[in-house]
């Protein structure tokens, strides 16, 4: 195949132009801007827009932007506008780290909202701890972290399971089949679950882990059939949730006798699996889209108006939403020249806000959030029905499964 020199030069020029066009951007963005200067408060928004976890992180990005837009429309924070700097870490922990550095060191943001997976949070943690910046992490996770540079607004195991597990034992029976994706979050949750089962007289008939993204569950379903548990305690994530539910239904199993009880199945997954496959199974979370409260109705309406009528809100996007408002509340307490991450952290301790799920509070000891756990059952119309609501908000105990350790304001303390 012959190529004329002209074509070649043209292509080379195009490539060169692209390469050249890319670089100036770095220079402009890194001009030395001080923090919160000139009526601008810079925050980073670090959720994947491409790659595998974009499935859910896209909605987290949207919820955060919605909150920022609402705050700015209402006049910003004492007159200063929040300027979101959005980066796409592409579902890769190393890119998360790179973008986090850029946001913290390069752009000098006063806070960054980000991460869904624990792997990405752990990858960016050194950046925030080393640079003494503040990371707002909205996702339910396995606990066992006590960083003073992270505000955790997602649920930890004790908040998700303390009411859920005994309720399940009561309603359905003692035999639990534990199935999760193969990484730390499901393993920790199962760890905690086993402790609760021991306490309440439950029994583990099997504990199994499938690779992330796995979607072939026939063997698992065969095993379920042969062990006949009362409850299938599921901590698979992402599209594994959808596959598991659909194949459960296709296999003809009955959710009234052997329901799946999940910590991760949200409105997102329910929309993708279809009402038929979702109906009858249970989820425990602090928030569901159907929750009745004026704040939630406003939130859902605003979200749909901004992003589309077919969109759903779920317990992680709700956390993104309210954490941005908590940020605003904390910054309001500071003088304009004092807006630095450590000050924001100190200001947010003990702050409360009426979130769509109810009133929430940042616990000063461990920087986690007091939440209102709920138990809901999915319906065939694709939404949940809330069956049990906590009467009181639950204190977050990230080290609940490890009685020898407790997270305090000074850091992690070993109790003898």
């Amino acid at each position: 195949m012959g190529i004329s020199r002209r074509t070649l030069m043209k292509n080379a020029a195009a490539l060169g132009a692209f390469a050249g066009a890319g670089f100036p951007q770095i220079w402009i963005k890194n001009a030395d801007l001080a923090r919160a200067e000139g009526g601008e408060i810079k925050v980073g928004v670090l959720f994947s827009l491409t790659g595998t976890t974009a499935i859910i992180e896209e909605s987290l990005n949207k919820a955060t932007i919605l909150a920022i837009e609402e705050i700015n429309a209402a006049g910003g924070i004492k007159g200063s506008k929040i300027v979101p700097i959005v980066e796409d870490p592409a579902s890769d922990p190393a890119t998360f780290s790179e973008k986090a550095r850029k946001l913290v060191v390069g752009d000098k943001c006063v806070s960054v909202f980000g991460s869904y997976t624990s792997a990405s949070r752990k990858a960016v943690l050194p950046v925030f701890e080393r640079q003494n910046n503040l990371y707002w992490y909205p996702t339910l996770y396995e606990g066992r972290e006590c960083s003073k540079n992270v505000i955790y607004t997602g649920a930890v195991p004790n908040q998700q399971q303390d009411e859920f597990v005994p309720w399940l034992i009561n309603k359905f029976g003692k035999k639990f089949y534990l199935i999760g994706s193969n990484y730390i979050y499901p393993k920790e949750e199962n760890n905690y679950c086993k402790k609760l089962l021991q306490k309440y007289g439950g029994e583990v008939v099997a504990e199994e882990y499938v690779p992330l993204g796995h979607s072939e569950f026939s063997s698992v379903i065969n095993k379920i059939r042969s062990t006949q548990p009362n409850v299938i305690f599921s901590t698979v994530v992402g599209d594994s949730v959808v596959a598991l539910h659909r194949q459960y239904r296709a296999a003809g199993l009955d959710p009234e006798k052997m329901p799946m009880a999940s910590l991760t199945t949200s409105e997102n997954e329910v929309a993708a699996m279809g009402g038929e496959a979702a109906a009858g199974h249970f989820t425990s979370a602090p928030y569901f889209q159907v929750h009745k409260s004026p704040e939630n109705e406003k939130f859902v309406a605003a979200y749909r108006k901004r992003w589309g009528d077919d969109k759903v809100t779920h317990f992680v996007s709700e956390a993104c939403y309210f954490q941005t408002f908590l940020f605003k509340q904390a910054v309001e307490k500071l003088a304009a020249s004092d807006i630095t991450p450590p000050n924001i952290r100190d200001a947010v301790k003990g702050q409360e806000i009426i979130a769509p799920q109810g009133r929430v509070r940042i616990e000063p000891d461990n920087l986690h959030t007091w939440l209102w756990p709920k138990i809901a059952q999915a319906k065939s119309d694709g939404q949940f029905q809330i069956l049990v609501e906590a009467k009181e908000w639950l204190k977050p105990l990230p080290y609940a499964a490890y009685p020898g350790q407790v997270c305090t304001e000074k850091g992690l303390v070993e109790k003898s």
Binding site: V210, S215, K223, D239, V242, Q247, A251, G252, A272, M273
Partner: protein, 307 residues
């Protein structure tokens, strides 16, 4: 003794083994195998006949699934009715890619890996930009949503359906390859392209058709599999690796080999997953393939050793 036989022995020594479970395992394996076959068949044709390593194969699967979703959500078309349009759409995409990208890479087999990978990224991202990253739902045909009795066991009707579809598609493909003029032309080109050209066979056209056919098959696979799983822009990446393993194991240029290895791998991974867990199953299957390629690179089922 075959691997399946050894596994059976181990399983029996576990004690507490019932015939029911055994049959259940066989059926599970057949189901996994039929899905593997659906996905791998297109790849087998493309690689076997053209030597093209199509890393965008997973994206063709994904396109088929998204087309099913689109037809369902915007036109209310059920899955079974959409199958023909899906085949046509994805085949068309395949044809375009072959014509404008791959035909320029005639004698650079390893560069086709790179080019198809780039194309795959573009397809994936285009879908993401046009439709969004969320998981999408394709409804299972209501007529197949229940379970049927097979050998005394309750099995999902849809899985049974998939099994027969996979076999049917294999039969159709085999007939096309071996009993039609186009198939004969393709086989001629596979043997020796220049000699075939001297007989007046337009290799370019045949290649384009073949690639389109393989892509169309992949699209069908994606659509057929989606009611059991979900639809997302990156759903295809997992399938490429699995599909390749099937093709390599079965022997390049052997369609029957692909069928046999698909079911073999299906049984193997199903059995190991049942005895251990899915992570171990995946690792063991991969290792087994590595060992197998080393000792028999022509695959399990090729009778002639091709250089």
């Amino acid at each position: 003794m075959t691997a399946a036989g050894k596994l059976l022995q181990a399983a029996v020594s576990y004690g507490d083994w019932r015939v029911d479970q055994f049959i259940e395992q066989i059926i599970t394996g057949l189901s996994i195998g039929s899905i593997l076959l659906l996905v791998a068949m297109g790849l087998s044709i493309i690689y076997g006949s053209m030597g093209i390593i199509n890393l965008a194969h997973g994206e063709f699967v994904m396109l088929g699934a998204y087309t099913a979703w689109l037809l369902q959500s915007h036109f209310g078309l059920g899955l079974l009715a959409s199958l023909v349009p899906i085949f046509v759409v994805v085949a068309a995409v395949g044809w375009i890619i072959e014509r404008y990208v791959l035909s320029l890479l005639n004698n650079r087999p390893l560069d086709t890996i790179l080019a198809t990978w780039g194309v795959g990224i573009m397809l994936q991202q285009s879908v993401r930009l046009m439709v969004g990253s969320e998981l999408r739902y394709v409804q299972m045909p209501p007529s197949l949503s229940d379970s049927t009795e097979v050998l005394g066991l309750s099995v999902s009707s849809y899985r049974v359906f998939l099994f027969f579809v996979a076999i049917a598609l294999f039969a159709v493909t085999w007939l096309l390859m071996n009993r039609t003029t186009v198939g004969m032309k393709l086989r001629a080109i596979m043997q020796d392209r220049s000699v075939a050209a001297s007989f007046g066979i337009n290799a370019k056209r045949v290649y384009a058709l073949t690639f389109a056919y393989g892509a169309g098959l992949a699209g069908l696979a994606g659509a057929l599999v989606s009611p059991l799983k979900s639809v997302s822009p990156d759903m295809g990446t997992g399938y490429v690796v699995d599909a390749f393993m099937v093709v390599v194991l079965g022997g390049v240029q052997s369609l029957a080999g692909t069928v046999a290895s698909a079911f073999f791998l299906g049984e193997l991974s199903g059995a190991i997953a049942f005895l251990q867990n899915d992570t171990v199953a995946k690792a063991i299957v991969l290792l087994a393939i590595v060992v197998l390629i080393r000792f028999r690179p022509e695959g399990l089922f090729t009778t002639r050793v091709r250089a």
